[in-house]
């Protein structure tokens, strides 16, 4: 039953990803010109003589003289075989450029999500069960500050104080000498040393939002009749809370996973630039500016894939959590 449901969800992913890839391709091709024209214009502006024959050669080589539809299918076919294309800007395969950055991005995202949950959940539960108490007001205030301060500002503040107090530079996610090196113990510890700052900064806003959401959802569930029923059975308050309202408020939370994954990856770009993190965000921005089509396109595809995976994970988790979804095949909100 559940297996069938999962299989069905995975099958549904395929057309979704196809439509996304077509959209991404179209959007990237929308602006006038392509990478080669940008290149030629830049070279001319710098007073260099553009090697027109070389540009013509490259255009043919990468199929830019062919109609867009053909190029699209060429790109998709490549993606399916794990070939993410070739970056013109860096003159290297996209896979090589993205390499470590992809891993680091996923690491930052993952740790940030965990951080958000670990902090937000207990605080949200406390706020809901102690509604209108000083603790509730205080934590709410802190949360609102976290929500209101822009990430990049927080990043600058952190960098300044880290420098003033500890005399260290906290930029980057890993010391540069380890970048694109195979994983080693030294590299791992270097990552850990750097990781906590971006995690706190990127997670701050999300945590605050999550606290509010947990609190609001739990408050709703605490009003429900089945919670009174549970207490009327003689359950101790803590156990009654965990088994019933908390479990129900998880629903909302799990259905949010699909949104969290991409938003943390893409929302972190500015912070990544400020902190010069070796994640994918800055790379993407540069690739879009330069119309480096394969780099940008493959990258956006990766983000979309993450989104779709996030939704899949949340759907499966929801089906496991809530028998109504599993057995009735209908979503409840």
């Amino acid at each position: 039953m559940l297996l069938q449901y999962i299989l069905k969800r995975i099958l549904v992913m395929i057309p979704t990803l196809f439509v996304t890839s077509a959209l991404i391709f179209t959007v990237i091709n929308l602006p006038e010109g392509d990478y080669f024209e940008t290149l030629a214009a830049e070279m001319q502006a710098q007073g260099e003589k553009a090697d027109l024959s070389r540009i013509e050669f490259l255009k043919r080589e990468y199929g830019f003289d062919k109609p867009p539809v053909e190029r699209y299918f060429h790109w998709v076919a490549g993606l399916l075989q794990g070939d993410m294309g070739y970056s013109f800007e860096y003159q290297r395969p996209v896979r090589d450029i993205v390499g470590d950055r992809l891993f680091l991005t996923m690491l930052v995202s993952f740790v940030t999500i965990i951080f958000t949950w670990v902090v937000a959940f207990p605080i949200g539960i406390y706020s809901a069960t102690h509604q209108y108490s000083w603790g509730d007001y205080g934590l709410t205030f802190l949360g609102l500050i976290g929500l209101a301060v822009p990430h990049f500002l927080l990043a600058l503040v952190f960098m300044y104080f880290a420098n003033v107090w500890f005399g260290t530079s906290i930029g980057g996610l890993v010391d540069p000498q380890y970048l694109n090196q195979p994983m080693s113990w030294a590299k791992f510890t270097s990552i850990l040393e750097h990781l906590w700052i971006p995690v706190i900064i990127i997670g701050a806003g999300g945590t605050a939002g999550m606290i509010r959401a947990v609190r609001a959802n739990l408050l709703d569930e605490l009003q429900k009749q089945y919670y009174v029923t549970a207490r009327a059975k003689g359950l101790p308050p803590g156990k009654a809370l965990r088994k019933y309202p908390l479990r129900m408020s998880l629903n909302f939370f799990v259905s949010d996973i699909g949104d969290i994954l991409p938003s943390i990856v893409s929302g972190a770009e500015i912070v990544a630039i400020v902190l010069s993190l070796q994640t994918t965000g800055p790379l993407l921005i540069r690739a879009l500016q330069a119309q480096d089509m394969y780099l940008a396109g493959s990258f956006l595809m990766f983000l979309s894939f993450l989104t779709v995976i996030g939704v899949l994970v949340s759907d499966i988790a929801l089906a496991i959590l809530d028998p109504r979804i599993r057995l009735q095949g209908a979503a409840t909100k």
């Binding site: 069938q4 299989l7 069905k8 099958l11 429900k224 009749q225 089945y226 009174v228 029923t229 549970a230 207490r231 009327a232 059975k233 003689g234 359950l235 101790p236 308050p237 088994k243 019933y244 479990r247 129900m248 959590l321 809530d322 028998p323 109504r324 057995l327 009735q328 095949g329 209908a330």
Partner: protein
Amino acid sequence: MDILRISDLRIGFTVHGLAREVVKGVSLRVLAGKTVALVGESGSGKSVISQAIMGLLPRNGGVTGGEILFRDPASPEDWTDIARLPAEGREIRALRGGRIGMIFQEPMSSLSPVHTIGNQIEEALQLHRPVPHKQARAQIETMLGRVGFKDPVRAFGYYPFELSGGLRQRAMLAMALICQPALLIADEPTTALDVTIQAQVLDLMRDLQAEMGMAILLITHDLGVVANMADEVVVIYHGEITESGPVEDIFRRPRHPYLKALLKASPHFDMAEGERLVALREARPRPVVAPRQVLPDAAPLLSVRNLSKAYVTGSRKFFGKGTLAVVQAVDDVGFDIRRGECLGLVGESGCGKTTVSKIIMRAVTPDSGEIVFDDGEERVDITALEGEALRRFRPRVQMIFQDPVSSLSPRMTVQNILREPLVIHERGNAAEQSERVRALMEDVGLDPRFLNRYPHSFSGGQRQRIGIARALALDPELIICDEPVSALDVSVQAQILNLLKDLQAERGLTFLFISHNLAVVNYMADRIAVMANGRIVEIAPRHALFSRPVHPYTQALLKSVPFADLDRKLDFKLVAPGGASDSRHWQPEFREQPGGPALAHQPLGDGHYVLAQSGADLRELA
């Protein structure tokens, strides 16, 4: 021996910093093995008392005086004062669920939707009488069988949403009784159920009480239920007890004016022609308008023919067909409503009566059938109207809804709510619309000064008046009333029913009155159609239906209504098991035979029709 003794109990609530006493010195007692009914309107404090006994008062409420003494029949010497036990402490938790069980009004929401009922019942058992899982499961299955589950082994693994309302309430009963409590508190246990299901659940409660010897504190507003269940009655009004005593005394010799008024305010079957209900509190007087004579037309205002609508339910699977089921919500329904008449449509929940009303409103499209609206000048088929023609037709049929809370937008003032239909249909300019809105308020007995208020500042009865005013705004010819009083208290119900009757007489309105409450339909309707399983099984003038019901379903419905009369107690055992709409219990004349002729409406004279096989001898059944 009394097991619960409440004396001079006072309970206060703090709302927006203001302390308010809602229970003012209440004293009552519950005898072991007996049923005490606590009767009162909503807001009288009856539910608050039950919460105090369980130690489950909301956070902003507390016991401010008096005591709640409970003694366990197992150790009759020890009195425990529940009011003094620490909240959420060990002692009160041992009583809750262990010695005092509780069931609630809403079987839909009082069970957790994401846990199986077996899981939820076992939790109660393991808390108070820990036993190994296997043994617990056997014990629970026995209990589930006892409360009426046909297949207790499978029922253990059901989720609440897989069960009907009646079965959920049975599961709640099983949960409350699994630890064999000395006292069961039942807070409006059957209010949300259909009459036939109500009779079954009440019957079950009586049987279990006889078997287990527990006492029941029954909290209700329904005097019919009280007359059939209670040994003693306590009447509460505004947090004070106005009358209490054995049920015989209370019903035969009511002394307090409140109880007398309450008895007069509820519609019953023995009302004389033209007798009016007496509301507890008269509402604001309305302008006097002379009744308008309605000349009977040759053709009915609305005639419905061969209406059918099927819904497909179940999950559509990606592979294979899945578990698709076709539910015939409305099956070949036909009836006429004459101008100026009130046609009652009764039936249990799920019988299709609301779908019929939605089809007439053109909110749902039928699979087949026609609905002809004939105002004497032109005949239109409502189902065929489209675009502008439909828009122009809309004002002529309006609707009054069941839930006065959710049917009014909380973000619009009453002025805006009442004006909206006039604006949509471009009736008059702004000044005329304002004038009209003020007149509507007067018509339904509300002060026009309230126009700038929002719906939340009105009581349930007043909100229903606003809903009525909105339905009247466009001068409709037909008004569909979908359970307009079932969410209201008895006293307010009388006011609203009287208002509807007056409006009908003054304006010559035509009503389609949908309800599951037979007494209310009896008070309002001229003719009554009874619906079961999507079909109209019997249609007759009011008197004929109540005096000579022919169809077994109608008979079962009428037999299940509890009377507030000690001389006419319910015959619980007559009610068919599995619900009255289960056609397998009907006599063969009323059942469709495989390969046999289709059922048709057989005339019994005087406009009395019953759905049966043609040629069946129905006279002896009548």
